[in-house]
Amino acid sequence: MTMPTEEPIRFRAAGRELTGILHAPASPRSAVLVVHPFAEEKKFSHRVLVELARALASKDIATLRFDLSGEGDSSGESEDATLDAWLEDIAAARAELAKRFPAAALTLLGLRLGATLALASVAQSPTAAVVLWEPILSGAKYVDEILRRRMIKEMMTTGKKATGRDAVLAQIQADGFLDLDGLAIGKKLIEGISSLDAKALAGRFAGRALLVQIAFNAKVSPALEELAATLRAAGAKAEAVGVKEQVIWDRVERVEAKELITATVDWIYSL
């Protein structure tokens, strides 16, 4: 039996050079493109996404993990990233997988903001399937959550009352970017993320969809059930499941997420 290879690859999207790791079995039965989450969540969830890709490859499913422009090893500055550029990046990564494995059905898989970007991508151009791990349902609420987490971190690290969100928003307008733990997030990207509405995107996809809630009680939230129902109404075969795991995107320590990986690999393998 030939072991799957792990190969760094480079490809281009509208002049930007993107970098990824391709997990390639000898004869892939299908292919998966992984869309990473945003900012610190990307860093914290990295290991789980690597283990997911290895588990998929062990089942003869080719998997590409790559960095969006302005992130990780890909070209560009985080401050210059935009939502449109990121959707172009995903389209380029899809084309790269299609070029390498023309016969393999493609599943897009994303975590948090990456899940919503995956949904936006399949709404633009359909794939066989999409897997949404804890998708961001409202971009505007997500940005608000980021600002609030920033406040809490400021409160905890300085021991003083935090700067309110209105003041931070005014600062973004003045500076053109948000300083998120030293990472500059451009105003255009913040506006793009704020415009995302998962429910509106779900109405434009009719393939197979797995929606996963990662929660301490393994319960699927009414909002995620509603997103699955919107997908079904659009003609998709969608199911929402709850997996009991520690959140994988905001912990420094390693989280194994075995149940999450097994449930996801089994679902993709069954397609």
Partner: protein, 85 residues
Amino acid sequence: MTEKSIEDALREMMVERLFLKLKPEEIDVNAKLAEAYGIDSVQVSELVVGTEAVFGITFEDDDFDPSRFDTVAHIAELVRGKLGK
């Protein structure tokens, strides 16, 4: 909900959501969360979300003062204020 049960509900929620290896009753409501249980800023964020969900309240920006989130007793006091108790 009684004052006692606000604190109990907070302790149960903390153990569950933060995956603490403690029993709820082992959390001293007057102990500093960071020093006694190693609660960091990420966990405080989860604690904030959990408290809002359990009690159906919303914290405003003005609430984010470290002295209000440093012990279970202080969080309970903030919750009581929000609930008008």
